[in-house]
């Protein structure tokens, strides 16, 4: 040991510096290559303004969603403080709260599971696609899930999950891998899921052959955010019930 130390000490400092620098260089090159993964990285100049625009729009989207959730909260508070105290009014307010809950407009919590779906290591098939995320979501619904979110985006009746290149849009929000699908449901939600033929086919026919990484955690408490998108009807009108 002391011989090695003596030899190192005998080396000119410039050689030691060079050796260390080359070591770090090798590490960085390896990290750069490993970081490429199966997703291609483009680096042309004209893309910078596009990325900047996309980032600005994402930032605007976050801000608008925050405004919508806050406004819905304030409206709920105002409705709860209605000066009318009639029983019919209280019933109407209770119905409204129940409808908001059913529609996914209220953040909820409960027992559930969280899946993490990640790209595999080789080939285009090793990228997680919108179809993969949708399949997982559909299987969770069929197993009895009552509320689901993908990377924090609440899945509701109007939710579309789309491919954009190798990434995904959920509720028009850009979400990047790894994809986290969280669900609240009955205590045996995961057992039901594992017993589902569709889920087994998804794992054996898609996840395993493509080398995708699917991990799951059963949790005592899962928080699912409220849907922060539009519930406006432009073309559809409610059909009023006919009272006898």
């Amino acid at each position: 040991m002391s011989v090695v130390v003596a030899r190192v000490r005998a080396l000119p400092s410039v050689q030691v510096t060079l050796a260390i620098a080359l070591l770090v260089l090798g590490f960085l090159v390896a990290a750069q290559i490993a970081g490429e993964g199966p997703r291609i990285r483009y680096s042309t100049e004209e893309r910078s303004p596009l990325i900047e625009t996309a980032l600005n729009l994402q930032s605007q989207q976050e801000s608008l969603k925050g405004q919508i959730v806050a406004a819905r909260g304030r409206i709920g508070d105002l409705e709860a403080q209605d000066p009318g105290a009639a029983e019919s009014l209280r019933r109407l307010y209770a119905e409204l709260e129940a409808a908001r809950l059913s529609a996914g407009l209220v953040a909820v919590t409960g027992k559930g599971i969280a899946f993490r779906l990640e790209d595999g290591t080789q080939g285009v098939d090793a990228l997680v696609s919108a179809r993969d995320v949708r399949t997982l979501v559909e299987e969770l619904w069929l197993a009895g899930a009552q509320a689901i979110a993908v990377n924090g985006e609440r899945v509701v009746a109007s939710t579309a999950v789309l491919d954009i290149g190798g990434s995904i849009l959920v509720n028009s929000a850009y979400v990047s891998p790894p994809y986290q699908v969280t669900a609240i449901g009955p205590a045996d939600l995961y057992d039901r899921l594992r017993a589902s033929v569709g889920f087994v086919q998804f794992v054996q026919g898609r996840v395993e052959p493509a080398g995708l990484r699917l991990s799951v955690a059963q949790l005592d408490s899962v928080d699912i955010p409220a849907f922060a998108g539009s519930v406006n009807l432009r073309n559809a009108a409610p059909v009023e019930s006919v009272t006898p």
Partner: protein
Amino acid sequence: MTSPATPQGSATPVAPVPGARARPASRLAVAVVAAILGVLAIGQLRGQAGVPGLSALSSTELTQLIANLNAGNDRLRDEASDLARQEQKLKDAHDRGQTTVGELGSDLSRIRAWAGLTPVTGQGISILITGPIGGDGVEDLLNELRNAGAEAIAVDGVRVVTGTVVAGAPTALSVENHPIAATFEIRAIGSPQILTGTLTRTGGVIAQVTTTYDLAQITVTPIDSMTLPATERDLTLTDATPKL
């Protein structure tokens, strides 16, 4: 110019000692390695910061993403404006000491219609499907309808709501425990032009689905007025509670 890297004041060459001055060639090597190291380190840091996933998109995909984000943000702005108006109306009513029963009623009606708890009427499209198609193919069509802004959808007369999944192999499809006939119709309320255009565009979802299910025939027809039923599904959440 720098002096040679030999210890000053020594008549005979000696072994290099720590701290001895390096030869120009060695210094140049260290400088080159340090420069490469710096470029790589900056590249690595930039690559890990800020834009996860966006760097994997091509210019065309970024343009597509920007179009989606713009459309989504427009819908969110409309929603935020509507909510601001609703909030102001409620505040005005409170200030005047008036009841807000009218506001509550219309809010309830809109949310129940959006969630699928009441029937809705409006213009839209009919998609007639004949021949064998799997549940995944139908789900692809529903996903594209949602993306195109469909406000209400029904499959074979069954309203599609949060948690509804069309599942099964071709000729054995079902939705909400309701078996689907060999020839069936999907109806969607929304802009007929946008819905039709999105579904039938070259390389669009119908082209993709009929590539997988080549015996299936899919026909899209605009409809001026239709009524879709309410869901029979119980949307009450029993395993999830509002997060306070």
